[in-house]
């Protein structure tokens, strides 16, 4: 197995990327090889300083897609960019998956353009990990599709269920439709129509639909997959990511006051801060590293622009999992049956 990584993607590229690649190789015990796409003059010295020269393949790609560039234009005009070349390696069978921390819009556009869609898929979707009382679940979609039709959402549910079944080993992942009430009659027209399609898919045994869930149920761990349009999903995801910092910001001064009043020891406060951080760790995207773009005919893992080396290592492992469990083949098979 070989994983391709965009050495130029992200706010701290190529430094963090090479550090992440080094970590991944160190922790993977030789399960896969790696190939980097990027500006050789910048990447080669870093490979050398990490002792990776010769151990990791490097493909020189002089073009760079900037973080705020128009995605579709960049993808078409910058064929020799780290992103387009990395995906092309997958297309040509020279790599089994691609990981980038670069411009997300460009990665979606390039993945669609270079890899194409799996037969039967209407729209690819980005599913993100999210913490809950049961440990972890996923939200589909979190930004690839701001306007969705019911049939798109039903397909996201099916692709997400396959992903979770094979990657998380969950027998029949539960799917909840995010809505403003539990009753079938609640919400937008899209929500009502989606409810019907999900019920049909459930009866056909393609998904395990448990009904509508509300905003207050997300963290309770009621379902394995929260289904919503990419607009709502993106806002919930980013809101959730901001919770730990908010708590730290409101909590620190409150603790300081107690310490000054002699009601709390410095030591106890330290224990508490540590606990709070650990408890909320799952809100941090560093833990999962990157999220899958499901529905494209190849593996494309999307990482956060601010990814640390550890996050990048984890994103690489996400690509490995998808390849190992042949998620895309299974999606293609399922959609062939349901067509």
């Amino acid at each position: 197995m070989k994983i391709a990584v965009d050495a130029m993607g992200g706010d701290f590229a190529p430094e963090n990327v090479i550090a992440g690649v080094a970590l991944a190789l160190q922790h993977s015990g030789g399960r896969f090889e790696m190939v980097l796409t990027g500006i050789a003059d910048k990447v080669q010295p870093l490979l050398e300083s990490h002792g990776l020269a010769g151990k990791v393949e490097l493909i020189d790609t002089p073009d760079v897609i900037e973080m705020h560039e128009s995605a579709s234009v960049a993808v078409k005009t910058k064929q020799n960019s780290s992103m387009v070349r990395g995906l092309t390696l997958c297309k040509e069978g020279k790599a089994d998956g691609f990981v980038s921390m670069g411009n997300t819009g460009a990665q979606m556009a390039a993945s669609l353009l270079v890899l194409g869609r799996i037969d039967g898929v209407s729209r690819p979707t980005i599913g993100s990990y999210f913490p809950n009382l049961a440990g972890m679940m996923m939200i589909f979609d979190v930004g690839a599709n701001v306007d969705v039709k019911p049939e798109h959402l039903a397909q996201f549910a099916e692709m997400g269920s396959i992903y979770q079944h094979f990657v998380f080993k969950i027998d029949k992942p539960t799917v909840g439709l995010l809505n403003i009430g539990e009753e079938e009659s609640k919400g937008t027209d899209t929500a009502k129509q989606t409810y019907k399609l999900l019920t049909e898919a459930h009866r056909a045994g393609r998904i395990n639909f448990t009904g509508n869930i509300e905003g207050r149920d997300i963290l309770k761990g009621k379902v394995s997959i929260v289904l919503c349009d990419g607009f709502t999903g993106n806002i919930i995801l980013k809101f959730g990511e901001s919770v730990p910092q908010f708590l730290a910001d409101v909590f620190k001064p409150a603790m300081m006051k107690e310490i000054q009043a002699g009601k709390l020891s410095q030591e106890a406060a330290g224990t508490f801060s540590k606990l709070l951080k650990e408890t909320l760790r799952n809100f941090d995207d560093e833990e999962y590293g990157g999220v899958p773009l499901l529905g494209v005919n190849g593996i494309s893992i999307i990482g956060h622009g601010k990814s640390s080396a550890k996050a990048i290592m984890n994103a690489i492992f996400r690509a490995e999992e998808m390849a190992q469990h042949r998620i895309n083949e299974r999606i293609a098979e399922a959609l062939k049956v349901s067509a």
Copy 2:
């Protein structure tokens, strides 16, 4: 001034309502009178046990609108319900505001039917209080309008700004449009169109629009008003409300472990639990009690079905504030000018 309260509304009615009315009278220092609508046989004994008999007017209304009844049907067929009669008192000038903890859908429908809309208002909106680093802000809409047009959102922004200006004494409340990116070009077609309308309203001096905000900005206190469709707003609101319980649920076992390991004293753990609760208090709707339905031609405050007596007292104070600051007249004036 006289505030009407639905004695039958809410999961713990009429007990909690009468207790809330008693609290409100106790803390208001005679600033306003109160009138209750409800089933006299059930309410009168409670008034007596609270020493309120003769001090609070009671109007006997035998019909009851149930929590899960179809709103529009109930409102038309149950003219002699506590909800319809309470709103009718406002319509007839016999009360200055109405508060209910009952069926929210029915309250919206009844408010529209009985009170009508303020001239120039396309759609009434529910704005909810929400905590942030700056203390508190409001989200418009949180469920009254699941499908919105850009012109509706622009009007919510204007009504919300007037409310905040007079009730919160904020000079020019900042308005942020909730979106999946900061750039004007981001999001759904509705979001893009709304951005344009808000920019125009800003230039005309009607609102103080500061641009798009993302999910991660909500808690940061960047704006006084977060503007979004009622679907997204409802989900964010309920998600936020669930955060304190989630933290308690994940945090308690983590603290217990530290106590058992001898790394934390029972006393310090108690201090933390208290701090955590206080810090997150603003996520609890008990503190604000009820939210205004803006745009109807009268004052209708919507409370949570599970409201405590304290929450009901606070909801009554919200009605008083709206009457005292003549919010509806000011909205009518502003919309006349902008028409």
